[in-house]
Symmetry: C2
Subunit: 207 residues, 2 copies
C-alpha cells in the first residue's frame, strides 16, 4: 500500500518514471490533506469553553472531515490500481486482428475505471471545500489559517482530479459515457475557483 | 523525522490537535509534490528519441526540480522545528515582570523564525511554478496533465505559505521586520494566480 510508505518514499516514487503514482494520486492526497486540516481545526475547538456555542456544529464537521479523509486516502490507492490496470491492458499483444480488438476492448474498459476514480476524487474534494467556510467561521480562531490552507488544498485536488478525468475522456470512444462524465465534471467545477478566493480572503481578514 | 513516517501517519498527526504538523508543513509538502511531478515529467522525457531536441533543457529542468524537492522536504521539517520552538516559548513562566519580559523576548525571536520558514517555502514554491510552463511545453506530451497538477500544487503551496507568514506577522512587534517581510511576500505572490490559470488552460488545451 502506497499510503503506508514514508512520505519521502512516496515523493521518490512520484518523481520517478514509474507509471504510478502520478497526478491522480496527488489529487487524492491533496484532498486528504485538506480534510485532515479541517479535522485539526475541529480538534482544536472541541471541548473548548470559548467555543461552547458551536460544539455540535464542530462535532458534525469533524465527523464529515474524517470520513472524507478516509475516502480520499482509499481513492489514492484506487487510483494506483486503476492506472496499473490500464498500463497492463496497453501491454496486451496486438499482432492479430482478434488480439487488437480484444486489447482495444480491455483498454477502453480500463480507461473508464481510470476516469471514474478521479471523478470520485473530484466529488470528495468538493465536499471538503464545503467544510472550509464553516470551519473558518466557527472553528478556533487561532487555527483559521489552517482552514485557509484546507480550501487551497481541496481546490487544487478538485482541479488536479479534473485534469485526470479530461485526459482519459480524450481517449474514450463511448460518446455517451464521455458526455455524461464531462457534464458531471463541469457541475463539480462550477463556482469553486470563486469559492476558494472568497474563503481565502475571509481567512486573511481574520489573521 | 516527520517525512520518514508513513503517509497515513502524517495525515493522522495533521488531523490531531497536536501543534505540529500544521498548515505550514502542508505548504512545504504541497510544494514538494509539485516539484516531484516536474521530475516525473522530466524522467518520462529523458532519453526518448521523440524528444531528442529538448534533452538538454529537460535535464536542466530535472536538476532544478530535484533540488527544489529536497529543499521543500527539508523545509517541512524546519517548519515543525520552528513551530515547536514557538510553542515552547509560549509556555515559559510569566509570574514576575522579569519573566514576562524574558518570555516576550524569546517568543518574538521564535515568531521571526516561524515567519522565515514559510517565507522560504513561498520562495521555493515560486521557483517550482517557474518550471511548470517549460515542463508542459517541452516534456512528454503523454504526461502533460502531471505538469498541470504540478502548477496547482505549487501555487497552493505558495498561498498556504503566505497565510502562515501573515498569521505570524500579525503578532510581531518589530515593525521594520514586518514591513520587509510583507513586501517580500507581496512580490512573491504577484501575478502567480494568473500564471496558474494560464498554465492550467494550456494543459487543458493539450489534453
Amino acid at each position: 500500500m502506497l499510503t503506508q510508505k514514508p512520505v519521502t518514499t512516496f515523493l521518490d516514487e512520484l518523481a520517478s518514471s514509474a507509471p504510478a503514482p502520478g497526478g491522480g494520486s496527488v489529487a487524492a492526497l491533496s484532498g486528504a490533506l485538506g480534510a485532515a486540516l479541517i479535522s485539526m481545526v475541529c480538534n482544536l475547538t472541541v471541548g473548548k469553553k470559548k467555543y461552547a456555542d458551536v460544539q455540535e456544529d464542530i462535532e458534525a464537521l469533524l465527523e464529515k472531515s474524517e470520513a472524507l479523509r478516509k475516502e480520499l486516502t482509499d481513492l489514492l490507492e484506487e487510483d494506483v490500481k486503476a492506472y496499473t490496470a490500464y498500463s497492463k491492458a496497453a501491454k496486451m499483444p496486438r499482432e492479430t486482428d482478434e488480439q487488437k480488438a480484444e486489447r482495444t476492448k480491455v483498454m477502453q474498459a480500463a480507461l473508464k475505471g481510470a476516469t471514474d476514480v478521479p471523478l470520485r476524487i473530484a466529488e470528495a474534494a468538493v465536499k471538503v471545500m464545503d467544510l472550509c467556510m464553516p470551519a473558518a467561521e466557527k472553528g478556533n480562531a487561532w487555527a483559521v489559517s489552517d482552514a485557509g490552507v484546507a480550501v487551497l488544498m481541496a481546490e487544487a485536488a478538485l482541479r488536479s482530479a479534473a485534469l485526470n478525468v479530461l485526459i482519459n475522456l480524450g481517449s474514450l470512444k463511448d460518446k455517451e459515457f464521455v458526455a455524461e462524465k464531462r457534464a458531471k465534471l463541469d457541475s463539480l467545477l462550477k463556482g469553486r475557483g470563486a469559492m476558494r478566493d472568497v474563503i481565502y480572503d475571509l481567512v486573511v481578514e481574520k489573521l
